[in-house]
């Protein structure tokens, strides 16, 4: 096995979780050399086969790791919050309708949440962000190996954080709608 092929294979091994690599990386390189020694195949063919196998096996292993799973969930959660923040723009037409109703009937419409509650959106957003940060930090503190109790705590904290951040985003949208609907309040 050429030094170049082994170096390339070590790059392929980076696709696997670091803990798995530490445990089995040297053996996998040893196995690659064994294959080259005993099989009637070119080293590039063997390297290609092992790369294809890594493309199947490595993502599955990464998903099995609680640490990676929480990062993926956090990214999805953040994307959901961003989508909600963007979606609040859709409330502008609602506010316009509210203004129209106010002019038509002489009183503002009740939008999403009371005006007083809407002013607390920053608190909800900060609390949600803090909870998500704590949820992400839990596996880092514990070295990525979570028992059932810590896994449950982490998931509840993450879900709570996403819920609070979502509430904050909705209240922010509600506050904007209030301001648009009631020009005298702003």
């Amino acid at each position: 096995m050429s030094a170049l092929a082994i170096r390339l294979y070590r790059l392929v091994l980076l696709a696997y979780p670091s803990q798995f690599r530490r445990g089995f990386g040297a053996e996998m390189v040893r196995l690659l050399i064994d294959r080259r020694r005993h099989e009637v195949r070119s080293e590039w063919r063997i390297l290609l086969e092992e790369t294809v196998d890594a493309a199947h096996a490595a993502p599955r292993m990464r998903w099995e790791s609680p640490m990676n799973r929480i990062v993926i969930l956090a990214v999805v959660g953040t994307a959901a919050i961003a989508a909600i923040l963007v979606a609040q723009l859709a409330l502008i037409p609602v506010a316009v309708l509210g203004l129209a109703a106010w002019f038509a009937w002489g009183r503002p419409l009740q939008l999403i949440a009371p005006a007083a509650a809407s002013r607390r959106w920053v608190t909800w957003l900060i609390a949600g962000g803090a909870a998500i940060a704590i949820a992400i930090a839990i596996p880092a503190i514990d070295g990525g190996e979570l028992n059932a109790l810590w896994w449950t705590v982490m998931m509840l904290t993450l879900l709570g954080g996403i819920g609070m951040a979502t509430t904050g985003a909705l209240l922010a949208a509600s506050g904007r709608a209030h301001r648009l609907a009631s020009p005298h309040n702003s």
């Binding site: 798995f20 445990g23 040893r30 196995l31 196998d53």
Partner: protein, 125 residues
């Protein structure tokens, strides 16, 4: 009561994933290192199953975590072998789980035979 608990413990592993059962069968006649397991699996399956190193060591890691296999301390022939290689062997639990999966597959094959699966064109009279 102990037997019931043991049976439940074994049943909890079934059905075994195909890759795990192949490794169990490969290790049934003694300890082997990674490449020997890979070669044995390919031979036993007539070349139909070819495990890559990621699939093989991913399964080995899970089986070590589950207590189905363990690392063997001694080498079969230290003079002829690379000391850096690790050898694996079935644990007592691994033997029992393998035997239970063997029985499960046999009963499935018996059922297929009883219904003459593959012997009747179209699978129905």
């Amino acid at each position: 009561m102990g037997h019931v608990g043991d049976a439940e413990e074994v049943e909890g592993f079934l059905p075994l994933p195909a890759s795990v059962m192949h490794i169990v069968v490969a290790l049934a006649d003694g300890e082997k290192h990674g490449y020997a397991i890979m070669r044995d699996v390919a031979e036993l399956s007539g070349g139909a199953v070819r495990m890559g190193s990621g699939t093989l060591y991913g399964s080995i890691k899970r089986m070590l975590d589950q207590g189905l296999i363990e690392e063997a301390d001694e080498r079969p022939d230290p003079a002829l072998d690379d000391q850096r290689r690790r050898y694996y062997r079935l644990t007592e639990l691994g033997h029992r789980v393998g035997a239970a999966e063997h029985r499960r597959l046999l009963s499935l094959v018996d059922a297929a035979r009883l219904r003459q699966l593959g012997l009747r064109p179209g699978g129905a009279w």
